[in-house]
């Protein structure tokens, strides 16, 4: 099988680590060769962060380049737009609609683009945008944004629900398991209507 590429993008501190850990566990359990590449250090301080997840029969490079991502999972709308050039032709973006202003926008040196999700769709890219924060709160915790996103991502994967649940169980504390399962389902079954 050709190597598949998932990028997880967001803002430093948003908690993308759990998402990549869970995906890594899932894909390893399914018997794939897997590489997960993270960012540590200075860029974590509220900067734009990216995690690369690659899987297949044999994975060499730990990074994903422009035009190679089968999926971009984004915690924030501007970050989905920033990494758009990394999306493969016919690749899928799954993004949270949340807006977090970067410092140049806060200081007034730059503008946060308006109607960004519409503009992303207008490029021809496949974009699935959902308000993960509301869904996470509905599940019981604003912190479950990552699990809502993964639930949504699972919608596009041909993997049994059982495998996802096992990875969830292995990676979240048991006292939050039910809440996270609910967050996963809310993401998975989300529809725009």
């Amino acid at each position: 099988m050709e190597t598949k590429n998932i990028m997880i993008v967001g803002v430093g501190g948003q908690g993308s680590l759990l998402a990549s850990k869970l995906l890594g566990h899932l894909l390893l359990s399914e018997g794939y060769d897997v590489k997960v590449s993270e960012v540590h250090g200075m860029s974590q301080r509220g900067g734009s962060v990216v995690t690369y997840v690659r899987y297949g029969d044999k994975v060499y490079s730990p990074v994903i380049d422009k035009g190679e991502a089968d999926y971009i999972v984004s915690f924030e709308a501007l970050e989905a737009a920033r990494w758009l050039p990394f999306l493969k032709k016919d690749g899928q973006i799954v993004t949270n609609t949340q807006q977090i202003d970067p410092m140049p926008v806060i200081t007034g040196a730059a503008q946060y683009p308006e109607k960004l999700v519409d503009k992303l769709k207008a490029t021809g890219a496949k974009v699935d945008a959902l308000d993960c924060l509301s869904l996470a709160e509905q599940a019981g915790s604003a912190k479950a944004v990552n699990i809502v996103l993964l639930g949504r991502l699972s919608h596009y994967f041909d993997l049994p629900e059982d495998a996802w649940m096992k990875s969830l169980e292995a990676n979240v504390p048991s006292k939050f398991l039910e809440m996270n399962k609910k967050a996963f389902e809310l993401g998975k079954n989300y529809s725009e209507n």
């Binding site: 997960v36 250090g41 509220g46 900067g47």
Partner: protein, 578 residues
């Protein structure tokens, strides 16, 4: 995470730590530095290994040397620039050799994800004449670590294990083994371990012979391997570049993958070159393999084709070799940058605001507070290396005199001060420049992810440890003026800063408040903006707090980020923050 078949997905740095455990390492001393930090943090989770954070890399390496001398396998880790600090012991440890195995991780940062330069550590291996191994994924990181100890003991040498950001911070699959602890007695050997000229003269030829022996080893060792494919193109490569080459070409070209990059083989390279039509070297940063190949009289293409700066990727290599690369989508919209920023509630913010307000010239140092150079604070005018702020301030003031003494400061963090600021401070006290040094004491090593240091009172495992009193230390060094301020209190900060800059004596200001991200730090409830009081003057925007933004002409606070530090409310002319 582990599966039933023992296979695990493991971070490169954690795989090194696992290798250390299995190799029976008993002693680890390191100074944190991205991308090397997790090796020591992960190793500290094994109860069988003694681990510590040292004040700097030189002390760490000397301590590791002592443990090796005493007969137990030892280790230290640092980032590339950290090895500059530890170069002094390294270059002579090459002469003494080791007793029990001694392995040293140096983690390079091509692409400068979290560093002040992009130096290639292979130069250190060549100059110090010690072997260097370079893993290209987590599996090799674990295997090479164990093999490095065998080589260290067999060839009587410290061994450098070179990591890079993409190997250190990528997870790939490893298989783990058991721990096995060798033990060597300590034996007095003055001729080997006392490096005074008479003894060192006798050791140098031994080093040269060792290099020859290691070249013989390199010709036919498991670290260096040939993967023959089509012979039109042959590529010599190492480290993460190997992964990019395989990603682009698969098995369609011939590859000589070098796991040991110092010393380099000769016959193996000549033999490989003779089997291919066109020979290339694919290596990040400096043309070290390329120059070696050329020195053998072999025709090769390297840096004519590939850049000497920044990290590589599969696309970069595909483009260089004229292969087609993927297309994608594009937006015409301008996407604002999202640079790293000081966190909401960061204690450095109030201090840098005060320095900027008072038009100070700020010579900075290495840490989270380097972000004081970023708009809107934009207060720092120089950052060089660990500890340089104080030395530079001394020189600056010596040549500019009273013109600069009353407006120029050095800013250095608690951990960086312990690392190499103390000697600079000794120089200010001894050679008497009228300098004002600000130690920003957030009670932790922040940027690398919260490591303890000699001023925090805790060790690497979080247990109580010795604690150095900064005020007493500065006073003992001869500073009569030592002041402590709370950077959340802008009025106090400014008053003390003005007094110390005005004084005709060297002084230290300790700006003290723990990092807002520390778990034990209790936060105040988030502030609210009273929209009726806010006049939209943007005074609060001058501190660059990520929790504050303007909406419809009024300031607004992100309650999920605000920790109630109250620095913004001290700037508000209408007292709109409640």
């Amino acid at each position: 995470m582990s599966l039933e078949n023992g296979k695990q997905l493991m971070l490169g740095n954690k795989a090194v730590a696992r290798g250390l455990y299995e190799a029976g390492v008993c002693f680890i001393s390191s100074y944190p530095g991205t991308p090397s930090t997790e090796v020591t943090e992960e190793a500290a989770k094994y109860d069988e290994i003694y681990c510590e954070w040292a004040p700097n890399e030189k002390v760490a390496m000397e301590s590791a040397f002592g443990a090796s001398l005493a007969g137990r396998r030892a280790f230290c880790a640092q980032k590339h620039v950290g090895l500059n600090v530890a170069a002094d012991p390294l270059y002579t440890m090459s002469y003494t050799g080791v007793n029990a195995g001694l392995v040293i991780v140096v983690a390079d940062d091509a692409g400068m994800h979290s560093s002040q330069n992009e130096q290639d550590s292979r130069h250190h291996a060549i100059a110090a004449k010690v072997p260097m191994l370079e893993p290209s994924d987590s599996k090799e990181a674990l295997e090479f670590t164990k093999l490095a100890y065998e080589l260290s003991e067999k060839y009587d040498t410290p061994v450098l294990l070179k990591m890079c950001t993409r190997v250190a911070h990528s997870q790939s699959i490893v298989e783990t083994g058991e721990r096995n602890v060798p033990d060597k007695p300590y034996e007095k050997n003055i001729a080997k371990y006392v490096m005074m000229p008479g003894n060192a003269k006798k050791r140098h030829p031994i080093v040269e012979q060792r290099t020859k022996d290691l070249i013989s080893y390199a010709e036919n060792c498991p670290l260096n391997r040939v993967e023959m494919g089509d012979t039109k193109i042959g590529i010599i490569t190492c480290s993460t570049s190997y992964q990019y080459v395989k990603e682009v070409f698969g098995d369609s070209v011939s590859v000589l993958k070098l796991g040991m990059t110092n010393p380099l083989p000769e016959n193996l390279i000549k033999d490989f070159a003779s089997k291919v039509d066109q020979l290339f070297v694919v290596e990040e940063l400096d043309p070290i393999i390329e120059n070696h190949v050329k020195s053998l009289g072999v025709k090769v293409t390297g840096k004519e084709l590939l850049p000497i700066v920044d990290e590589f990727s599969q696309t970069l290599i595909a483009n260089a070799f004229g292969k087609e690369t993927a297309t994608s989508y594009s937006l015409t919209e301008e996407i604002p940058n999202r640079p790293p920023v000081m966190c909401a509630g960061c204690p450095h913010r109030g201090l840098f605001y005060t320095l900027k307000k008072n038009n100070c010239t700020v010579l900075g140092d290495i840490g989270c507070y380097t972000l004081g150079a970023v708009p809107p604070l934009g207060a720092i005018e120089m950052t060089l290396c660990m500890g340089a702020s104080i030395g530079a301030l001394h020189g600056f003031n010596k040549v500019r005199g009273s013109e600069s003494e009353h407006k120029t400061v050095a800013v250095i963090g608690d951990s960086t001060f312990m690392h190499s600021g103390m000697t600079g401070l000794a120089n200010v006290a001894y050679n008497q420049s009228n300098s004002t040094i600000v130690i920003v004491d957030n009670s932790i090593t922040g940027m690398t992810g919260h490591q303890q240091n000699p001023t925090t009172g805790y060790n690497i495992k979080g247990d109580p440890a010795g604690k150095i009193d900064l005020e007493a230390l500065c006073k003992a060094m001869g500073f009569e003026r030592v002041r402590v301020v709370d950077p959340y209190n802008l009025e106090e900060c400014e008053k003390v800063l003005k007094e110390e800059l005005a004084a005709d004596a060297p002084s230290v200001i300790i700006s003290r408040r723990p990092c807002a991200l520390l778990k034990y730090v209790k936060h105040n409830p988030p502030l609210n903006v009273n929209k009726d009081k806010c006049i939209g003057c943007k005074s609060c925007m001058r501190i660059g707090c990520p929790a504050i933004s303007m909406k419809d002409g009024k300031a607004t606070i992100d309650a999920t980020l605000c920790v109630g530090c109250n620095v913004c409310s001290q700037l508000c002319p209408k007292k709109a923050f409640e």
